[in-house]
């Protein structure tokens, strides 16, 4: 499932994005690893630390080989305490460093929640800009990997509701590289959400930090009839749905948000005013989820252009299920198609 979703479909897109078909396919994990290595090489203030990121190279191997190459003083294991990792990262940033820390899994970032909400997000504002915190917090997020409880949460709603934080998430290997480089270069704290089910998805691409800026959305598939808005692993699902929708006679545009906060209103509004219909897709539970914000702001900015209400296809309003049942929780191309079908097409030429 992971492969079908995140490889083929995304690739068709990404190749049209101009990656040289010649270059060897790279996984998102490898692209992230490369981004960290290039960031460490580019700026000696960059530090990488967290649980098991050193010798082991991280449980997902995203930091593989970095300690060997850059040394224990720049890439190191910490004691097992997330608030400690975040809190010391803040202190290091106060003293001129650029910490890139890893939270091993989404749910294990919760112990650091106070440091994130009360300090990481607020210290710049608290000091009228005298203290900047260029900290990147890498968090593998989402499910679809058969992970047991606490290993598949999607916590973007918590972070996007916290002013002062940037929240971004890539959908492809090449964008994973680009966004991570951009995040390390960003003077604001960035919550960098890594769609773990895409870690092993492949793409033929030349990795470059250039292209769309850190806060710009990308149109992954141009279309005329309906706008599918997604991010992270759901971009591939949306693209899958878009391809299937062709047979139904619907030409769907697929937008990859990339930056959840701030969000690229211009790109979204232009698209939805043009198509008149939209579906917002995310894995996280729907209630008070991030998708509600997209629906609310687009409904306000596009009200008279809308042929139907903007609907959401999201995870259920339940704790993340065990592997045996997760497929029922996760948005699928079928559910997206059903949602499109509900968008009152009778009046459609």
């Amino acid at each position: 499932m992971t492969d079908v979703l995140s490889e083929s479909d995304v690739n068709t897109q990404v190749n049209t994005n101009g990656a040289a078909p010649a270059s060897p396919p790279v996984t998102m994990a490898a692209a992230l690893n490369r981004a960290l290595a290039d960031s460490l090489a580019a700026d000696e203030r960059v530090l990488v630390f967290g649980e098991d990121v050193g010798t082991l190279g991280g449980v997902f191997r995203i930091t593989d080989g970095l300690t060997a190459r850059f040394g224990e003083h720049r890439v190191f294991d910490t004691p097992l305490a997330e608030s400690g990792i975040l809190g010391t990262a803040i202190g290091m940033a106060m003293n001129g460093m650029i910490p890139v820390v890893e939270m091993q899994f989404d749910a294990f970032a919760y112990p650091a929640f106070e440091q994130v909400t009360s300090h990481l997000a607020k210290l710049r504002n608290r000091t009228r800009g005298r203290i900047a915190l260029p900290v990147v917090v890498r968090i593998p997020f989402g499910g679809g990997i058969g992970g047991v409880e606490h290993h598949c949460d999607s916590s973007e709603a918590y972070y996007t509701h916290t002013p002062g934080l940037r929240v971004v998430t890539p959908a492809t290997p090449s964008d994973a590289y680009r966004l991570l480089r951009q995040s390390v270069d960003c003077p604001d704290p960035v919550i960098f959400l890594e769609p773990k089910r895409c870690y092993w998805s492949r793409e033929q691409a030349i990795l470059t930090a250039g292209g769309p800026a850190i806060d710009q959305a990308m149109v992954r598939r141009p279309g005329q009839d309906v706008t599918l808005i997604a991010y992270g692993a759901m971009v591939a699902t949306a693209l899958e749905a878009a391809e299937a929708a062709v047979e139904e006679g619907w030409d769907a545009e697929v937008i990859d948000l990339r930056s959840l906060s701030p969000v690229d209103d211009a790109t979204l509004t232009e698209s939805v005013r043009r198509t008149g219909r939209a579906v917002v897709v995310h894995e996280a539970s729907g209630f008070a989820g991030y998708g509600a914000e997209i629906v609310a702001r687009l409904t306000e900015s596009c009200f008279h252009y809308l042929e139907a209400p903007i609907v959401r296809v999201t995870g259920l309003d339940i704790p993340y299920p065990p592997p045996s049942l997760e497929q029922h929780h996760l948005p699928s191309a079928d559910r997206i198609l059903d949602a499109i079908a509900r968008l009152q097409w009778d009046d459609h030429a």
């Binding site: 649980e51 098991d52 050193g54 010798t55 082991l56 190279g57 449980v59 294991d77 004691p79 097992l80 305490a81 608030s83 400690g84 749910a107 294990f108 919760y110 112990p111 058969g146 992970g147 047991v148 409880e149 606490h150 290993h151 209630f287 259920l316 309003d317 339940i318 704790p319 299920p321 065990p322 592997p323 045996s324 049942l325 029922h328 929780h329 559910r335």
Partner: protein, 370 residues
Amino acid sequence: MTTPAGTTWAAAADGLLPSAAPLQLIDPDGQAGQNQGTLGLPGPGVLADLHRRMVIGRRFDAQATALTRQGRLAVYPSSRGQDACQVGSVLALRDQDWLFPTYRDTVAIITRGVDPVEALSLLRGEWHCGYDPGQHHVAPQCTPLATSALHAVGVAHAARLKHQDQVAVVLLGDGATSEGDTHEALNFAAVWKAPVVFLVQNNGYAISVPLAKQTAAPTLAAKGIGYGIPSLLIDGNDAAAVYSAVRSAIDQAAGRGPTLIEAVTYRVEAHTNADDATRYRPGEEVESWLARDPITRLETYLTAAGLLDEQATGRITAEAEQFADSVRTRMNEDVVADPADLFAHVYARPTAALQRQRAALLAELAEDGQ
């Protein structure tokens, strides 16, 4: 309590520091330990039981690892090498006491009497907790590190408020001691004199991170004095020492409150079947610990003491095989998960929204002819 300059705290600190070396009732060679401290050797019946349960536990552990290779378990964190902690701590519990295990303590859970297949539900990917925690007073296996230590303190304090003689024993890893929740749990327990036993299985690693990168403490048991909690440092591969330490802590819990026990042991296998330990530790280290195997040691002792003969060993091995067989057989049946379960227990009564989502899912499945 700290008081104005002049008075001293030394008296208040009596007995809070652990012994200089780990207490040991039976040494690695199966001889009587030279550093027994105040621990008393359990009776022959208990020793025999410790041995039998460790053999069964070890066999179960191997079976579980095998099931991961057959795709019958999503993942399995082995406790091989920590057998003495798994079994010694549980046998020391009384029926009314509560056990708070982690993801690594499945052997402890089945030793407590929980059905093995129910115990494996989490790692099988069937449901988060497959057994009824109330039946054997075994809390759900805890994954967010150290968080259950606070639950244990709460259960223990509630028992105290209800004047019930009930102790909570929480299992923690060396890595988990770094989490803030361990600190808060030790402190709440001490201030409330809650009847709780903190058993730290110091197996040397937190996934790939060795103890030296986890703490600079001379020993984890030295943390006790900072909370006013009496602490014990014991040989975690000596089942008799683990049993005796936990039992004495339980016996004193009602009056004295909490005890911190650091059991020095070793994680012989990788963190889980998915982990590759060769990336971060030398094989010789593992070898040196295999030589300190908890089962062999007790076997030697029991045999020398005439408490174990080939016949008995044969019986136990057969029992262990039988146990493993039934686990294998039962685990080979496919999981039949009910989608309706997704909505049934989020709240006492499903909300209107959950009922709508449930109906939608069931309709979807009906369409797909499932």
